[in-house]
Structures are given as structure tokens and as C-alpha cells.
């Protein structure tokens, strides 16, 4: 097997050039997931271009009109503890703090967490284990899905970064830079909803900044997993209450190939519907198919229960 070369990019222009010169290359931020995928032979990049060497990509700064711009290479620990983020987007700070362990959070980055490869029970396994499920579309380009066996195409691997749902709830936008220039995309457009083609990144584009709008109501973040350990979430819940009867956000993360908004339940929350009904509607609306990290019925039950807790908590929160 050809060895992978690691190349430290010195600036964005060089990173862009390296991406073009090495079509089979991949970008690395913190590397806490990428290096594991490489070890498990789930990715075989010709080159890994490391971004940590580019100065200025981890800056967290206040923007005009009260927004916050977070460099994609800011570590999850920095995001979790930064006073500006704790104050303006406590939802995001809590989600960053919920990721894995302190050791991982000291290396893993916010950009990396958003771009985290989708995960599946049949994908994130050793080559030895995968030999028993050799036709997985994501792992080996096969023609089967072991999660939804009757599906003819598509992949149901789960979006798994804890910071995805809260950033969708906050209405974050992403700065994507390429040799051709840059664009700012809504985070909802960034997730495509397929486990294989899961990110709306065009060839040569690099996520450089996460832009938070001026702060609104504080909201709540919940990460549910069977044990309070390092594990990925069974689901995450990001809820922002309405302000003056509008703007409620209910987002369920890590349960599908993209964070899911419960739009019907959001409308009910805006209109001041009873908590139990909003909670029930949230679970009902979720189109979940994957049994990875728990059966669908179980996930829906727990989503409804946690949602009811969250809404009760928001009611008692001082506004």
C-alpha cells in the first residue's frame, strides 16, 4: 500500500493548492477522528493536509452587531470555555463540553466536529470485523446497506458531531474558502442528509469560520447516551424558545444523516401549545430509520421524554 504523506499547509492559499495537486488528499484539523479512520483503513488518502499550521484559523472574535466568529480550528475546549461563547451561545459551549474526553477536546476542533465523518455500526469497525459485512456502500462501495436492507441506494450513517444541532438551532453560517474565492453558507444547507455524501462542500473548499448571529434567547442543549461516558450521542437536542411568539427552534442531532428540525413542533412552541403536545410532536416528526445506537422506537420515546423535560426547564428559566 502506498504510504500517506502528511503535509503541513502554511497558509490558506497553500492548502488550496495542495488540495488541487492531490485529488485523493484529505484535510486534517485536530485529527482525533481522521487518524482513527486511517488506522481502520476506512480512508486511504494519498496525502493528509494538516491545517493547524495555518496561523489565525483558531481565532474567536466578536463581530459587529453582537455576532461571534469562531475559527474552524478553535479546539472544542476553547469553544467550551471561551467567555464570549459561554455568554452569547451557551448552547454551543455546552455541546462542545459534551464531546468525548478532555484529552480529545484539547485537540479536536469545532470545524472538525462539524465535518466529522458520518458514523455507523457497520462502518466504524476494524477491517477484520468488516469482513463479515463486506457489501456496505460506505465502507467498501458495495451494493448493500445492513441498516436498511431493503434500500436500493443511499447511506444512513449518522451525522455525529455534537455541535451540529445547536449550531443549526442558532442559525449559524459557515465561511467556506476556495481558490476561486469564498462564500457564506447556511449550516442547514451544509448537511446533505446522505451518509456517504454528507457535506455540501464543493471541491477545493475549506471551512474556515463559523459565524454566530447576534444572541437571542439562551436555549438548552441535551446530549443523550446510555452512559455518561465518552460515547457518541444516541441523539442530541437543541431547543431555543420563541421570542414574542416567533423564532422557536427544535433540532435533533446525531439521529439521522443530518441534524433534523422539528418544524411542526417549532410552530406549536411559537403558538404556545402545551408542553406534552410539543414534545410528542417533536418525536412524531422525526424521520428516523437507523437502529444504530438504539432502536428507532426507543429513540423516539426518549426524545419525547427529554423534550418534555427541556420544555419544563425552559418554563422555569428566568427570561
Amino acid at each position: 500500500m502506498k504510504e500517506t504523506s502528511f503535509i503541513a499547509a502554511r497558509d490558506m492559499a497553500e492548502a488550496g493548492r495542495l488540495l488541487r495537486e492531490h485529488p485523493l488528499s484529505m484535510l486534517m484539523a485536530g485529527g482525533t477522528d481522521l487518524l482513527v479512520l486511517k488506522k481502520l483503513e476506512l480512508i486511504r488518502p494519498s496525502a493528509i493536509i494538516t491545517l493547524k499550521s495555518i496561523p489565525g484559523l483558531s481565532t474567536i472574535r466578536q463581530e459587529k452587531e453582537g455576532g461571534v466568529a469562531i475559527g474552524a480550528l478553535a479546539t472544542l475546549d476553547e469553544v467550551a470555555t471561551h467567555p464570549l461563547i459561554r455568554q452569547r451561545a451557551p448552547l454551543l459551549a455546552r455541546a462542545a463540553a459534551a464531546v468525548a474526553s478532555p484529552q480529545i477536546r484539547n485537540k479536536a476542533t469545532l470545524g472538525g466536529n462539524l465535518c466529522l465523518n458520518s458514523r455507523c455500526w457497520f462502518f466504524n469497525r476494524s477491517p477484520f470485523w468488516r469482513a463479515e459485512a463486506p457489501h456496505c456502500r460506505k465502507a467498501s462501495g458495495g451494493d448493500q446497506c445492513y441498516v436498511v436492507p431493503r434500500s436500493r441506494k443511499g447511506c444512513f450513517a449518522l451525522q455525529s458531531g455534537d455541535t451540529g444541532a445547536p449550531l443549526v438551532a442558532l442559525g449559524a453560517r459557515l465561511r467556506l474558502v476556495s481558490a476561486g474565492g469564498e462564500r457564506v453558507a447556511d449550516i442547514e444547507e451544509f448537511y446533505l442528509g446522505d451518509g456517504i455524501r454528507y457535506l455540501g462542500l464543493k471541491p477545493g473548499e475549506i471551512l474556515t469560520e463559523i459565524l454566530l448571529p447576534p444572541p437571542g434567547p439562551a436555549g438548552t442543549f441535551v446530549k443523550f447516551r446510555p452512559q455518561d461516558n465518552l460515547d457518541f450521542a444516541t441523539f442530541t437536542l437543541a431547543v431555543i424558545p420563541p421570542e414574542g411568539g416567533t423564532g422557536a427552534r427544535i433540532v435533533v442531532g446525531c439521529a439521522a444523516s443530518r441534524p433534523l428540525r422539528a418544524r411542526g413542533a417549532e410552530k406549536m412552541l411559537d403558538a404556545g401549545a402545551p408542553e406534552e403536545e410539543v414534545a410528542r410532536k417533536t418525536a412524531e416528526e422525526m424521520r428516523l430509520v437507523s437502529f444504530v445506537r438504539g432502536p428507532v422506537d426507543f429513540k423516539k420515546q426518549v426524545i419525547a421524554a427529554k423534550m418534555a423535560d427541556v420544555l419544563a426547564g425552559l418554563k422555569s428559566q428566568p427570561q
Binding site: 485529527g31 480529545i104 485537540k107 461516558n229 465518552l230
Partner: protein, 157 residues
């Protein structure tokens, strides 16, 4: 491809030629013979390879050696002063927080990093601080006790 790596390991300057895919753990154990740092899962789950890089606890198995260029690394070997154990190490002995001992170097380094930033952690903060290191023997109770002992000692840091 290889490149020159400069590190300060436990206070000593080190310069060596490393391959670009070598991890910090590979360099510490196989090149510098600092085998106190243990290799466990190699995937960032067990935390046995925890060292401090520029004052922050990291999984050395998930850190490329060249990422640490110019950095300061503290391993378990760097805690004791000659024959005198670090108070945190003493506390682990005192509390009986060691059984098979395989997780101990990583556990001690994780706690060291925690107490460095937060000398008097709450119960919950201790749990979060040691979350990244797995111990299959002690059930964590004795480890928690060792942390409490250190945090309450006057010379704690």
C-alpha cells in the same frame, strides 16, 4: 519522508528525525524509551497514552509527532523529583488507587492536568477530568479518593 523534530520533553531538549506518520506516542516510547506512557487502544478511547502537550492533556496516540514541533511535553517520568514522588503520585499510593497499574500513568497525567487548571475540583469536575482514562480494576473510587487527597493537601498544585 522524515523531518527534524524539536521538543522539550520533561524539561530536556530533544532533537530527532521522525517519520511524518509517527505519533507522539511512538516517539516517546520507541525513540526516547519513555515507556511510562502506555499504548492502549490507539484510538483515543482508553487514555492510557495521556501526556501534557504545552500544558494540556492530550492522547499522544492521536497526536502526530510533528504536530508537537517546538512544544513542551510532560510525561509520567517528568513528575517525580529524583527519588521523591510527586504529591499526586504519593496520593495514588496512599489511597490504593493502583491495581494492575496499566492505566495509572495516563490517569495521573489526566489528573495532573485537571488540578493544574482547577486545584479544587468538585466531585463532578473530577469525574469529567478522569473521563478520558479507562480503568478496569479499581472501579474509580480509589482514584477519586486520590484526587481528593491531593486537592485537599496544602502543597497541592
Amino acid at each position: 519522508m522524515a523531518a527534524l523534530l524539536n521538543l522539550l520533553v520533561n524539561g530536556d531538549p530533544v532533537q530527532l528525525l521522525v517519520r511524518e506518520d509517527e505519533t507522539l506516542l511512538d516517539v516517546l516510547r520507541d525513540r526516547l524509551a519513555l515507556t511510562g506512557t502506555k499504548r492502549g487502544c490507539g484510538e483515543g478511547q482508553c487514555g492510557h497514552c495521556t501526556v501534557l502537550l504545552n500544558g494540556k492533556a492530550v492522547n499522544s496516540c492521536l497526536t502526530l509527532a510533528l504536530e508537537a514541533e517546538g512544544g513542551q511535553v510532560l510525561t509520567i517520568e517528568g513528575l517525580a523529583r529524583g527519588d521523591r514522588l510527586h504529591p499526586l503520585q504519593e496520593a495514588f499510593v496512599e489511597a490504593g488507587a493502583i491495581q494492575c497499574g496499566y492505566c495509572t500513568p495516563g490517569m495521573v497525567m489526566a489528573v495532573y492536568a485537571l488540578l493544574r487548571e482547577n486545584p479544587h475540583p468538585s466531585e463532578e469536575e473530577i469525574r469529567e477530568g478522569i473521563k478520558g482514562v479507562m480503568c478496569r480494576c479499581t472501579g474509580y473510587y480509589k482514584i477519586m479518593e486520590a484526587v481528593r487527597l491531593t486537592a485537599s493537601a496544602p502543597e497541592a498544585k
